[in-house]
Assembly symmetry: C2
Homo-oligomer: 124 residues x 2
DNA sequence: TGTTTGTATTATAATAAATGATACAAAAGG
DNA sequence: CCTTTTGTATCATTTATTATAATACAAACA
């Protein structure tokens, strides 16, 4: 499994791991029933401590995206992710993105077109 | 100026201040030429240390949203925010939002409608 | 000069992130 | 049963970030 981890990013490593797995599953690149690499393996691949990967996996487990057993490691659940899609957190993050785009000069139409394309690319 | 700061949030206080000012300007609630409260004043209003507010203002200054002079404090610039609206950061954040919504069961159409409404509400 | 503003500086404390090392428990397979 | 492999727990340490307090300085006016 290829995860791109930016060691210089503001985003903590464990969050990056989590985010990329969420994205990979949503996009269909990783499917329900697929196994994820073991904690030790992924840690080795990325070059981080196993506990860092473990933190990502624990998050994913808590969110419902993965199921874990001790012998076989983590695999993708077919139940999706817990929670409401459109909660206040979603709205706040989306609104901030939109606001920043507007402040950087994007028109309403630009933002709409751009985001609709992103939605289509995630759902394709 | 009323800013809502959630002291329990994961998001650092200075980021919340910054975010709300960006949003307020993008939404038109705060206009180019408007003055922001002084660092000391806003810190007092919110109940945080002035250096925390100063960090937010320094960010906003760096981003181009505010202009600062030592006598009169911060005011909103009319130049908007530096940077490209649709940079890789925008796309990554948007894609993650979309991916999470999908994982929580939202259909493509649901996501489109919801976000288009948010865009309209920001731009109104 | 006095006042007000942002900014700089120093130091401290708390929290978060990341790590290393080790050990334990669970679950299978031989 | 023993061995292996897996996640998990635990402890300790280090580093980075956030937030603070206090103080002082510089800038820009009235």
């Amino acid at each position: 499994m290829i995860l791109k981890i930016d060691m210089t990013s503001d985003i903590p490593i464990y969050q990056q791991i989590r985010n990329q797995i969420v994205f990979g599953v949503a996009k269909g690149n990783i499917k329900a029933g697929d196994s994820l690499p073991t904690v030790r393996q992924l840690a080795n691949d990325i070059g981080v401590n196993p506990m860092t990967v473990n933190k990502a996996y624990a998050l994913l487990k808590e969110e419902g995206i993965i199921l874990i057993d001790r012998r076989h490691g983590a695999k993708i659940s077919n139940l999706g992710m817990k929670g409401n899609a459109f909660d206040p957190d979603f709205d706040q993050r989306a609104e901030l993105l939109i606001a920043e785009a507007r402040m950087k000069g994007a028109s309403r139409q630009d933002v709409k077109m751009h985001i609709l394309n992103l939605i289509d690319s995630v759902y394709e």
